[in-house]
C-alpha cells in the first residue's frame, strides 16, 4: 500500500449508531451479524399500500436525549443527537473538559436527504381548515435538514464549521467525505460527521416513494421484503436512524492516546449527469466514484478486502451496481448489503454503512446479507450470507448512490 495521496491521514476515533438493528453500536452490530431483517408492520403506515418498514426499536426518545429537545424536534434530530453523543463518548472526548475540547475547532457535518414531515399531516390539516393560528411554531425548526447539525452543535458545544449535506441516498457518505476535507483544509481539527433520517415516520414522506415504484410491495411478508441482490427483489423497505463518526488527524489522535478504529483514507464524489432517478445504465458515476476514492486513498482495487454495497434491492440499482463492483473489484472481495437487515434509511444510509464498514474492518468480520435465498444470476459477486464472514481486513470500501445521480464512495484502512 502507498501512503495517502496528500496531507496527514484522518482517523476515525468515535462511532455512534442508532438503527432498526438497535440503539447503540454494540446492539446494532449484534443484530447485523444475525443477518435477519428487522422489517415489520408499521402503525404509522397502516392502511397504506406499504404498511411496513424498519423502525428504530421503541426507545423513549425523551429519555435518550431529553424532553426539552424532543418537544420541538422530529425523530431524525433525536437519532442524530443520540448517535453523536455516543460517537463523542466513544472517542474518549468530553465537551465539558475545557482543557481538551477546543469547541471552536470542532465541526459538524450531517447528511440528511429531505425535510422531515412527521407533524406535517396534522399541522397542515389545520391550514386546510383555515385554522392558521393553531399552527405549531415548531414546524420549521423540527423538520428542516440542517437542524440535525445545528442541534448537535448546541448539544455538544461544537462551534466550528457546521453544515448539512443533501445528496439524497448518498447524503451521509458525502457528509463524511466533506468532513475529511474540512480537516485536510485546516478549517477544523475534529469533525462530528454522519447522517440521519426518518422518512418512514410520516405518510407524507413515505408514500411518495411508493408512488414512484421504488418500494417493495411484499406487504404479506415484511421480513422478506428487503432482498438486495436476490432474484426476487422488488424494491426497498424504508428504514430510519443515524450513523455518526468522530474524525480527527491521526497524529493528534495518537498524541492523546485515542483508540483508532480506522483511517478514512479516500473519498470519491461524482454525478451521473444522466437521469433524475434512474442509475446510469453502465454505472458510470458509481464506477468513477469508487475509482476516485481508491486513487484518493493511494490504494489499488486489489487492496480492498470488503465492500459494503449500496444495494437498495430495486431491480435496477442492484443490477447496475453488481456489474460495477464486479468490474472494479475483479478479485471477489466479500460484499454485504446492510439494507437487507435495516432497510433504507435514505440520507442516513451512507453514514450508517460507513460505520458498519469501519466496524467490519476493525473487527475482521463482515455481517451477512439477509433474504439472499436465490442470488440474481446476473449479479456475479461474492455476497456474504447466512453467517458473518470472518477474515483479516486491511482496507474496505463503502459506496452510496443517490437520486439526482449523486454518488459517494469512502475507503477506510487500518491505522
Amino acid at each position: 500500500m502507498r501512503a495517502a495521496s496528500r496531507g496527514e491521514p484522518v482517523a476515525v476515533t468515535g462511532l455512534g449508531l442508532i438503527t432498526p438493528a438497535g440503539v447503540g453500536v454494540e446492539a446494532g452490530w449484534r443484530t447485523l451479524c444475525d443477518g435477519v431483517s428487522t422489517a415489520s408492520e408499521d402503525p404509522v403506515l397502516q392502511g397504506t399500500p406499504v404498511p411496513f418498514s424498519c423502525r428504530v426499536p421503541d426507545i423513549d426518545a425523551a429519555e435518550a436525549v431529553g424532553r426539552k429537545l424532543t418537544w420541538r424536534t422530529d425523530s431524525f434530530i433525536h437519532f442524530a443527537v443520540a448517535a453523536a453523543r455516543e460517537a463523542v463518548a466513544d472517542a474518549g472526548l468530553d465537551p465539558r473538559d475545557a482543557c481538551r475540547w477546543e469547541a471552536d475547532r470542532v465541526g459538524v457535518v450531517m447528511g440528511v436527504g429531505a425535510t422531515s414531515q412527521e407533524n406535517h399531516p396534522r399541522e397542515y390539516a389545520k391550514l386546510l381548515r383555515g385554522q392558521h393560528t393553531t399552527l405549531s411554531p415548531t414546524i420549521v425548526p423540527r423538520s428542516v435538514p440542517n437542524m440535525a447539525a445545528g442541534e448537535i452543535a448546541a448539544d455538544l458545544d461544537a462551534r466550528g464549521a457546521n453544515l448539512c449535506t443533501s445528496t439524497a441516498c448518498a447524503s451521509g457518505a458525502t457528509a463524511i467525505g466533506v468532513a475529511r476535507q474540512l480537516i485536510a483544509s485546516g478549517a477544523c481539527d475534529t469533525v462530528i460527521a454522519g447522517g440521519s433520517e426518518s422518512a418512514r415516520n410520516s405518510v407524507f414522506t413515505a408514500l411518495p416513494f411508493w408512488r414512484m415504484g421504488v418500494l417493495s410491495g411484499r406487504a404479506h411478508d415484511p421480513a422478506g421484503a428487503s432482498r438486495p441482490f436476490d432474484a426476487d427483489r422488488d424494491g426497498f423497505v424504508l428504514g430510519e436512524g443515524a450513523g455518526v463518526m468522530v474524525l480527527e488527524r491521526l497524529g493528534a489522535a495518537r498524541a492523546r492516546r485515542a483508540r483508532i478504529h480506522a483511517v478514512l483514507a479516500g473519498f470519491g464524489a461524482t454525478a451521473d449527469a444522466f437521469h433524475p432517478v434512474a442509475p446510469h445504465p453502465e454505472g458510470d458515476g458509481a464506477r468513477r466514484a469508487l475509482l476516485a476514492a481508491l486513487a484518493d486513498a493511494g490504494l489499488e482495487a486489489g487492496d480492498i478486502g470488503h465492500v459494503n454495497a449500496h444495494a437498495t434491492a430495486t431491480r435496477r440499482n442492484d443490477l447496475v451496481e453488481g456489474r460495477v463492483l464486479r468490474e472494479v473489484f475483479p478479485h471477489f472481495p466479500p460484499v454485504t448489503a446492510t439494507k437487507s437487515v435495516i432497510g433504507h434509511a435514505l440520507g442516513a444510509a451512507g453514514a450508517i454503512e460507513a460505520v458498519c464498514s469501519v466496524l467490519a474492518l476493525a473487527r475482521g468480520c463482515v455481517p451477512p446479507t439477509a433474504n439472499l435465498d436465490r442470488q440474481d444470476p446476473e449479479i456475479d459477486l461474492d455476497i456474504v450470507q447466512k453467517t458473518p464472514c470472518e477474515r483479516r481486513l486491511e482496507a474496505v470500501a463503502s459506496c452510496s448512490f443517490g437520486f439526482g445521480g449523486q454518488n459517494a464512495a469512502l475507503v477506510f484502512r487500518t491505522p
Binding site: V44, N119, T133, T134
Partner: protein, 137 residues
C-alpha cells in the same frame, strides 16, 4: 376548566419542565421556555379551549412569571365566549380562521378527511412573528 392545572401539566408533559421547578414566582425563562416554547404553549391552550389566545396574548414574554402567565391565560379564556368551550370542535372547515377547534394532539397520519380550503391562511398573521421575534433566524 382549571387553567393552572392544565398549564403546569403541559409544562411537565410536553416541555419536560421539572415539577419541582414549577413555582408561581419562577419566570418562564427560568423554566427554560424561550419565545418559541411560549408560543407553542399558547397554541396548545388555543387548541384546547378554542379561545384565540395566540392573538390576545401576543404581547406576553418569557420574563413573565408562571403565576402571571396563568392569570393572563385565565383572564383571556374567561373573557371569551360564555361557554369557554371549543367551538366547532370536530367540525373541520366550520371554525372561522383564528378560532381554534382542532383536537389537540390529533394522531398524525392521513387526515381523515381533508376539507375544502378555508379562508386565506397566509395573510396578515403577525402575532406569531411578534411572539417569536427573538428566535434566531
Amino acid at each position: 376548566m382549571d387553567i393552572e392545572a392544565k398549564v403546569t401539566g403541559y409544562l411537565q408533559q410536553h416541555f419536560g419542565v421539572d415539577a419541582a421547578a414549577l413555582r408561581p414566582d419562577a419566570t418562564l425563562e427560568e423554566l427554560d421556555l424561550d419565545s418559541l416554547a411560549l408560543l407553542e404553549l399558547l397554541v396548545i391552550v388555543e387548541e384546547e379551549t378554542g379561545v384565540p389566545v395566540t392573538d390576545e396574548l401576543a404581547g406576553m414574554n418569557t420574563g413573565a412569571t408562571l403565576g402571571e402567565a396563568v392569570a393572563q391565560i385565565e383572564k383571556a379564556v374567561a373573557g371569551a365566549a360564555p361557554a369557554g368551550e371549543p367551538t366547532a370542535a370536530g367540525e373541520p372547515g366550520a371554525a372561522p380562521a383564528g378560532e381554534g377547534g382542532a383536537a389537540p394532539g390529533a394522531a398524525s397520519g392521513v387526515p381523515a378527511a381533508v376539507p375544502a380550503p378555508g379562508p386565506a391562511v397566509a395573510a396578515g398573521d403577525e402575532s406569531g412573528a411578534a411572539a417569536a421575534a427573538d428566535v434566531r433566524r
